[in-house]
């Protein structure tokens, strides 16, 4: 399939990248702001795609070059699209928790592996818990508002307790009720 990278949205691009890497036996999972864009239905816009992998940049480079993504340092860029691709170190951590359980989406571009909505929300809450980041809190609220039916607040509450941040979880709850 001929792909016009200038017309792809963040979800489709993530899908293209993930699918080609998986087909080349490179296991990757989309994390970070791109997941927030997907789950918040673009209420939050990210311009970089962070994937977790245990492979080397050299291994990734040989595959990504075939679809026009060139490497500069750790980042990959295609001249025809605005997004940057980054690879962060393995494993996938949500706060202090390690996860192996991911969401899988199938589209016309193939398979996309990414954080589950609840883990994506926890990941943003962790940014708020540990770095007092107001943007992370705002993004957590955006995810919740668009994914309510897939998020169990009791589970988020228990996780927040384990992260020793129940007070900040309560601030999050106050904001989603408002």
């Amino acid at each position: 399939m001929k792909i016009d990278f200038s017309k792809l949205n963040i979800k489709d691009l993530a899908n293209v990248i993930c699918d080609i890497l998986l087909k080349n036996n490179i296991d990757v999972v989309l994390v970070g702001g791109a997941c927030v864009s997907i789950y918040s239905k673009n209420k939050y816009m990210s311009y970089d795609l962070d994937f977790v992998t245990d492979k080397t940049l050299k291994e990734l480079e040989s595959v990504l070059n075939t679809i026009g993504f060139k490497r500069t340092g750790r980042l990959f860029k295609n001249d025809k699209c605005d997004y940057l691709i980054d690879f962060v170190s393995h494993p996938v951590m949500i706060g202090k928790e390690y996860t192996k359980d991911f969401e899988e989406m199938k589209t016309k571009y193939g398979l996309l592996k990414l954080l589950k909505p609840a883990d994506c929300l926890k990941d943003r809450l962790a940014g708020y818990f540990y770095w007092n980041d107001p943007q992370s809190l705002e993004q957590a609220i955006m995810i919740y508002n668009k994914q309510k039916n897939k998020i169990n607040l009791k589970e988020i509450e228990n996780w927040s307790k384990k992260e020793n941040n129940i007070e900040k979880y309560n601030i999050f709850i106050k904001k989603i009720i408002l």
Binding site: G73, R74, L75, D86, Y130, W131, D133, P134, Q135, S136
Partner: protein, 109 residues
Amino acid sequence: MIENLLGNQTLEKILLSVERYGNCYACNISKTFDLSLYAVQTQLKKMELTGVLVSKLYGKVRIYEFNPRYALLKELRALLSKTLEILPEKEIKKYYMNRTRPRLQNKPL
């Protein structure tokens, strides 16, 4: 919004920033709000002397945060938190929504 109560605008911005981000340093406050560095440093020292804030030196930067032993800390933070809730949205977006989570060196925004 509470500048008259606190006595001046610089102090209001310092305390609201510490409430929002957990800490602050003079140069950052001065740049963010376009205030004179001297005025910011003066207020920070005053707050440290009165026991509202405490400071620690990280390299060459002095970081200020709330003094957990300040007797009126809970009440002061409640006032600041409420103020942040009712500030105009434009002001919140401009001054109190800065990214504080880490970002890898040299990664463009």
